[in-house]
């Protein structure tokens, strides 16, 4: 409709409810308040809350990475297997050389290379991301099993365990790490041209192409960011657990997808935020924690997480419909 100089103030930038991650905040608050009322003695303790953050850290960092391919309209199913490969290679390097620097570098390089591989095939051959990353998911799991012949690698180097196990100001270091990764991810998405291009190609790839956006390059970047995030998550993961298992991270890619969509990222692309994804990851960790404290069987965890995914995405869809109706 024309003639819109009337008092419809643009609420998009000011209103809290219009943020894409709003739908994740709601379950977060509801869960938190409920648990605080039901189990104040066990839930609302510093050690428990810190435990939630520590557990959330792996998913949160992976979810920040997952946000990028999903915004382009794709997905990265290879995340879980990549986590294992990075964990094993880094674990072997630490076991054999005791060089943390080398382990971290190798891990990051593997993450970037696998991301590059995924992105290149998806962008150049226009292979459906689901298929390509399903392929790398299976292949990398095989690599992880081959490298270890199926047995875990113990990481005994105390200096390496520091990051995953220690705290600063009472808050576990992994929590700082995932917040740092989220800030970096959000910065790329909203403050750099790369981020804008990633949104653009997820929103309308034809229009983006005609506008001069380099489609191939930016698609590859999205998968590389995903790979690097997984590497960071993996390096932190073995630091926290003290061992690298060939079956580590199995199914984590779906947890990351869940966290991402709970956090308001649109699965069809074009919309999303890194901040939303870490909120989504905390929601998932909170549910798991609550189930344990309430001594509900793990079978129920799955059911509840499934429901939360559906409910929070529904909230998001309804929010958009209301907005569309308001504008006319």
């Amino acid at each position: 409709m024309e003639k819109l100089k009337l008092p419809i103030k643009d609420r998009k930038t000011t209103s809290f409810t219009n943020k894409p991650w709003f739908s994740a905040v709601l379950p977060l608050i509801v869960l938190f308040v409920l648990m605080s009322l039901i189990k104040p003695d066990t839930f609302l303790t510093t050690s428990n809350l810190m435990n939630i953050l520590r557990q959330a850290s792996t998913y949160a960092i992976m979810a920040v990475g997952m946000t990028f391919p999903i915004i382009t309209g794709g997905i990265d199913l290879s995340q879980g297997s990549l986590l294992a490969v990075v964990a094993i290679v880094a674990g072997m390097i630490i076991r054999d050389t005791e060089s943390i620097l080398l382990a971290v570098l190798a891990g990051l390089v593997i993450g970037a290379v696998i991301g590059f591989l995924n992105g290149t095939v998806i962008a150049y051959l226009e292979m459906p991301p689901f298929i390509m990353t399903l392929g790398t998911m299976r292949a990398l799991r095989g690599v992880a099993l081959l490298l270890t012949k199926g047995s875990p690698i113990d990481i005994k180097l105390e200096a390496y365990r520091f990051m995953g196990t220690q705290s600063f100001l009472g808050i576990p270091l992994p929590a700082y790490m995932f917040i740092l990764v989220a800030i970096a991810g959000q910065f790329i998405l909203s403050k750099t041209a790369t981020g804008r291009y990633i949104f653009a190609l997820g929103s309308n790839v034809e229009a983006a192409k005609i506008s001069g956006v380099k489609i191939v390059r930016n698609r590859i970047k999205a998968y590389m960011i995903s790979g690097v995030c997984v590497a960071i998550a993996s390096l932190l993961y073995i630091s926290r657990l003290g061992s690298a298992q060939p079956i580590a991270g199995e199914g984590y890619e779906m947890e990351a997808v869940a966290a991402t969509v709970i956090g308001g990222t649109s699965i069809v692309g074009g919309e999303g935020s890194a901040m939303g994804s870490i909120i989504g990851a905390v929601v998932v960790a909170l549910i798991r924690n609550a189930m344990v404290l309430l001594q509900i069987s793990t079978y129920w965890q799955s059911i509840v997480i499934g429901l939360v995914i559906v409910v929070s995405v529904s909230i998001d869809i309804i929010r958009k419909r209301i907005e569309a109706r308001r504008v006319g």
Partner: protein
């Protein structure tokens, strides 16, 4: 209004949206068996009226009488049951289903075993297609049909529901002149033989005079008046009623110094699409690329900017050959392409206006590698003012803007990118008269600044009104070139259908 046979009557219909009265006390009637044209600029209320009639919206006030009975459809199925069929602007067929499957989608003909009776389905589909005066195998997949054939199938689908009223919303925007002629023949046939009433929405002044019996004009949501005899109405008078002001000239005159050759296309060839296309554009010159739909105009543009792979050919800018493999390369050396389908190729519909405006030249908005939102906003505000884009804020997603305003946003993209060569593909398709003349003004301004401009358009009056020189294409080849002085609609048509190897099935129109 007398005692004419009224089929549909709107009485004091009003509809509010937050901040805007989309329809304000609109009353008029439509007679049985006429082609009634709804006229008005984008945002005048035509779409809202149609949406109320088809149950997408409900009116806040007033009522609609169909054959004297009040109707209040709440969805499109209900309006269909009432005998109101709608052919939407955007094609609503499923590409991978057959013609017959599409026609009977959601109304499948079943046999005694409750399975689909294919024989009967195809036979009935064939019947309705023949009613439209053409012959398509109902078992053809819709995606294999031309746009015009798809449109016919769309109407056949509506027709098979045996409505008493058919709404045609800009049915010709994707059709070439001879296809439009076929459509009009069909409309006339259905009107005369079956007594079907048509509500017709179009922005093309020439054709509404030709097809319409009476017209109702809306402006800013209000009923402005009716034209009882469209055939005799003067074009200027119609335009006056629509815009509420005299458009001094539909095509503003310009005094531009035409300079040296700036842009050259030599022997451009894309396999199976365009062959040996060559032309030049001078600085300050507007060159029209004319021809029927499918003659290779858009393919030429897309080959120039690197969207289609060139087999052969050179693009030169200021005499120097340019290497263009992607649209990115094209923009970098100064060639911008405004696509014909703004929703599919022009805009990020769910992104704010300012992100659309800055996209092709995003590097300009970086400060130390970081995007400056303030700078982006400022630039978007400039274009919003300069092109009078009606939006409450540059933060508003472009999907909420009207067609004309959306198109101005796409223009802003290329103005912001400050390219030297502009290719405008159907720059005024589906937008209102007011916005059209503003777009012609922008084109003139760019020419005055020394840009080289190519305009692709299916509307011959537009090509004649805007261009200094006209290059005509037919079946992928350049078949003629005309200066502004020598060009007429007839001459263009002659070249447009007269290319080598023409099938001779097309007929010149108008």
């Amino acid at each position: 209004m007398g005692n004419e046979d009224v089929i549909l009557r709107f009485e004091h219909v009003s509809k509010m949206f937050p901040g805007v009265k989309a329809l304000d006390d609109v009353s008029f009637d439509i007679r049985r068996g006429e082609v009634h044209v709804l006229l008005g600029e984008n945002g005048a209320g035509k779409s809202t009226l149609i949406k109320i009639l088809t149950g997408v919206y409900t009116a806040d006030e007033g009522r609609i009488l169909l054959n004297g009975q009040e109707i209040r459809p709440t969805n499109i199925l209900e309006s269909r049951k009432l005998g109101i069929g709608t052919v939407f602007q955007e094609n609503s067929l499923v590409p991978h289903l057959t013609v017959a499957e599409n026609i009977f989608l959601s109304r499948e003909i079943k046999n005694s075993a409750n399975l689909i009776d294919w024989k009967e389905t195809n036979a009935q589909a064939q019947y309705w297609i023949r009613e439209m005066g053409i012959d398509i195998d109902p078992r053809t997949q819709v995606r294999r049909l031309s746009v015009a054939e798809q449109q016919i199938v769309e109407i056949a689908k509506i027709l098979s529901q045996q409505p008493s009223i058919i709404i045609l919303d800009e049915p010709t925007s994707a059709l070439s002149d001879n296809e439009i002629d076929n459509l009009f023949n069909t409309v006339n046939k259905l009107k005369e033989e079956k007594g079907i009433t048509f509500i017709y929405i179009s922005h093309r002044m020439e054709e509404i005079k030709y097809i319409g019996d009476r017209a109702t004009v809306l402006r800013d949501g209000k009923f402005i008046g009716q034209l009882p005899n469209l055939e005799e109405a003067k074009l200027d008078d119609i335009i006056n009623m629509i815009v509420g002001r005299t458009l001094e000239e539909k095509f503003p005159k310009r005094q531009v110094e035409i300079g040296d050759v700036m842009f050259e296309v030599e022997h451009l060839t894309v396999p199976k699409t365009i062959y040996d296309v060559s032309f030049q554009v001078r600085s300050g010159e507007v060159v029209g690329l004319s021809g029927l739909v499918g003659s290779g105009r858009t393919s030429t543009a897309k080959a120039i900017i690197g969207m289609l792979p060139k087999e052969k050919g050179v693009i030169k800018l200021n005499g120097k050959p340019a290497v263009i493999n992607t649209p990115h390369d094209a923009i970098k050396i100064g060639i911008g392409y405004l696509p014909e389908d703004r929703k599919r190729e022009g805009l990020l519909l769910d992104k704010p206006m300012y992100e659309n405006v800055t996209l092709p030249a995003l590097h300009k908005f970086k400060k130390f590698g970081v995007l400056s939102k303030a700078l982006e906003h400022q630039t978007a505000e400039e274009y919003r003012e300069k092109l009078s884009i009606k939006t409450p804020s540059v933060e508003r997603e472009t999907k909420f803007l009207s067609g004309g305003n959306q198109q101005k946003v796409v223009f802003s993209k290329w103005l912001c990118a400050q390219t030297k060569v502009y290719i405008f593909d159907e720059p005024t398709r589906g937008i209102d008269v007011g916005s059209k003349s503003e777009i012609y003004r922008i084109i003139n301004d760019l020419a005055a600044q020394g840009a080289a401009i190519i305009v692709i358009s299916s509307e011959l009056p537009e090509i004649l009104g805007v261009c200094d020189r006209i290059v005509v294409m037919c079946e992928g080849r350049v078949t003629g070139e005309l200066s502004r002085e020598e060009a007429t609609q007839e001459k263009i048509m002659k070249y447009a259908i007269g290319g080598a190897g023409s099938y001779g099935k097309v007929e010149a129109t108008h």
